[in-house]
């Protein structure tokens, strides 16, 4: 049992300060949700509406509480017991928890918290997590402090800690999604690069829509995007600094280039160059511009994605006569890993390294699926007229992709689904949206 002073761990980040609040930690193992492949019943939790510690914090406290609940329930792993059903009302963050009141409503876990608006208008959020059945806190209480503009991020950080303490894996709520925002008629779509929080909040547009833009991907530090734009008249790869929106062409070439992705160390990028009738994959050093040809087949090689250790690349090729997925070490031979029915494209290596997500076409239906990196255990997670372009949540637990509807008025929108195939749902965007790319967890 450890009792620590108020500031036990003071981790200082660019935007937030995080403090661990002293609390007794019991000897019993914490509540852990085991995620299996089968259907799981969401764990019932109670989130006591966060206490406003200052008069002006009431609205902020409500907003933070509801963002935390939305994050946790949205993961599909938790069910929120609404406040109306609560027997106990938490009015003081430091009052002892009456476990029996929470047991009575069958809550397995309880989240309490408080919110304070600081003199500089910053916001401070404290929270604690409790295992109701063994009547013990799960981990120390914590305090996050940030600016008002980062209110949603503060809430996401709380939800991430709750998630990781209960699931035993890193969370994914404090993250962003880059995507292509689409408007206008199907035959002449206006496409703008956009970025938003993972849940669709705080949409920001990064390009004007004058040129077609495609498939943004994050740098490993989440600060830059690499994407394809037609601003020169033909598709070419650009790198943009998100904060300043400064952009530059990655490579000096007359060739058409597309399908770029950063290497895990952020120093290189892989992409496709179309030369003559042949499209091959090249690796570029982002600083020097030096390149290395990675595939040499007289066929279409595209949609490359690095393994998390940076040693291999998964890509699609039609060298066998149809679109299939191959894994190739940086200095080795390609191994075909897809052998099922239909065509396979857009492979993406999971950040955990355990799966490769892909788009699969069988007849005129499209699926998002995952397989092990050797091609085994293929599992399809979705089906529609057109599902395409998966991207992984930072913890490798959730996939986001886009779904396009049929016909003259058909249009794309974003969808997320758990890697087990559960919890498929639409991700809200102001306009049509395609080509999502999930950022790493924010710092």
């Amino acid at each position: 049992m450890t009792i620590r002073a108020t500031i036990a761990i003071a981790a200082s980040f660019a935007i937030f300060t995080v403090n661990s609040i002293a609390l007794a930690q019991g000897d019993n193992p914490p509540l852990r949700i085991e995620i299996t492949e089968g259907v799981i019943e969401p764990v019932p939790i109670a989130t006591a509406p966060f206490v406003a510690e200052t008069v002006d914090a009431a609205a902020v406290a409500d907003e933070i509480t509801s963002i935390i609940v939305d994050d946790l329930v949205g993961s599909g792993l938790f069910r929120n017991i609404p406040p109306a059903a609560h027997i106990a009302k938490v009015t003081n963050f430091d009052s002892p928890v009456q476990y029996s009141d929470w047991k009575a409503i069958n809550a397995e876990a309880l989240i309490t918290g408080s919110v304070e608006v600081l003199p500089d208008q910053g916001i401070s959020v404290k929270f604690r997590l409790f295992d109701v059945f063994i009547e013990n806190p799960i981990g120390d209480g914590m305090k996050f402090t940030g600016s008002r503009g980062n209110l949603r991020r503060l809430a996401h950080k709380v939800a991430d800690v709750v998630y990781s303490r209960m699931i035993g894996e890193e969370g994914y709520f404090d993250s962003r999604v880059a995507f292509v925002s689409e408007s206008g008629p199907k035959g002449n779509r206006v496409k703008r690069l956009a970025i938003m929080d993972y849940d669709g909040a705080n949409v920001q547009y990064l390009t004007s829509g004058r040129s077609i833009v495609l498939a943004p991907r994050f740098s490993p530090d989440g600060q830059r995007l690499i994407y394809t734009s037609y601003e020169s008249g033909v598709p070419r790869v650009y790198i943009m600094d998100i904060a300043t929106q400064q952009r530059r062409e990655l490579i000096e070439t007359v060739d058409m280039s597309f399908a770029p992705r950063f290497s895990p160390d952020g120093r290189k990028a892989v992409l496709s160059l179309a030369r003559g009738s042949n499209t091959d994959i090249f690796e570029f050093d982002i600083t020097t511009g030096n390149s290395r040809q990675f595939t040499f087949a007289n066929s279409i090689e595209t949609a490359p994605s690095y393994s998390p250790d940076g040693r291999s690349i998964v890509f699609e090729s039609d060298r066998s006569g149809s679109q299939q997925i191959y894994v190739q070490p940086l200095n080795g031979r390609a191994d075909r890993i897809s052998f099922g029915q239909g065509r396979y494209g857009t492979p993406v290596w999971s950040p955990r390294g355990d799966y490769i997500a892909f788009t699969k076409q069988i007849g005129d239906r499209f699926h998002i699926g995952v397989m092990r990196t050797d091609g085994s255990e293929e599992r399809l997670l979705s089906e529609s007229f057109l599902d395409e372009g998966p991207t992984w949540s930072p913890n490798g637990r959730v996939l986001m992709f886009f779904r396009e509807t049929r016909g003259e008025f058909g249009a794309p929108f974003l969808v997320s689904v758990d890697v087990t195939g559960r919890n498929l749902k639409r991700v809200p965007t102001p306009e049509f949206a395609s080509d999502p790319a999930w950022s790493p967890l924010l710092k």
């Binding site: 008629p185 199907k186 035959g187 002449n188 779509r189 496409k191 077609i212 495609l214 498939a215 008249g233 033909v234 598709p235 058409m256 597309f258 399908a259 496709s272 179309a274 003559g276 009738s277 499209t279 279409i300 595209t302 949609a303 699609e316 039609d318 679109q323 494209g345 857009t346 788009t359 076409q361 005129d364 007229f385 057109l386 395409e388 372009g389 396009e404 049929r406 016909g407 003259e408 058909g410 080509d435």
Partner: protein, 174 residues
């Protein structure tokens, strides 16, 4: 720029272009090849062959689009028929360059379709070069599935979208 002119040499070129597989680079036309001109007007009982040097004419009468089979970029006889005419026109009008756009239908992933569109555009470019057009006059661009022309989600529209479009650009001579 809009010009119309009537000219015997153009008539020959047009006639040649109308005959699939004919080498339009050679001007050894004979009378039999003039029997079935692809274009012509009746004017007081006298048949004139004509060629307008306009983009509208190129699009409407020569044909600026060719259509491919699913997942294919091969030059079929039907495609060659149109491309022969395009080559003939471009040979006659050296002050025009061409931008060949490669397009695909929506049935396929974005990256693959970009590569397939590049393949189609390049097939057209290679064919036109083979027919005597200088390589530096023909640029290519792939649009993949980004710019469908027909918007329904059925084969009728998809077949119309699997296309390569030859867009003329007039070279400005300074």
């Amino acid at each position: 720029m809009k010009k119309t002119f009537l000219c015997a040499c153009l008539a020959i070129a047009a006639a040649l272009a109308g005959c699939a597989g004919t080498d339009v680079g050679g001007l050894g036309a004979n009378d039999s090849e003039l029997e079935a001109p692809p274009v012509g007007i009746e004017d007081g009982g006298t048949q004139y062959l004509y060629s307008e040097i306009t983009e509208e004419y190129f699009e409407a009468e020569i044909g600026h689009k060719v259509y491919f089979a699913v997942d294919q970029s091969a030059i079929t006889e039907e495609i060659a028929f149109t491309l022969d005419r395009q080559a003939g026109w471009l040979l006659e009008n050296p002050n025009y360059d061409a931008l060949v756009e490669g397009h695909t239908d929506e049935q396929g992933t974005r990256e693959y379709n970009l590569a397939l569109g590049a393949r189609r555009a390049n097939s057209v470019r290679d064919y036109l070069i083979d027919k005597g057009i200088a390589g530096n006059r023909i640029r290519i661009v792939t649009y993949g599935k980004e710019r469908p022309e027909s918007l329904c989600s059925d084969e009728a529209c998809w077949s119309a979208n699997r296309r390569a479009v030859t867009v003329l650009t007039e070279r400005i001579v300074i």
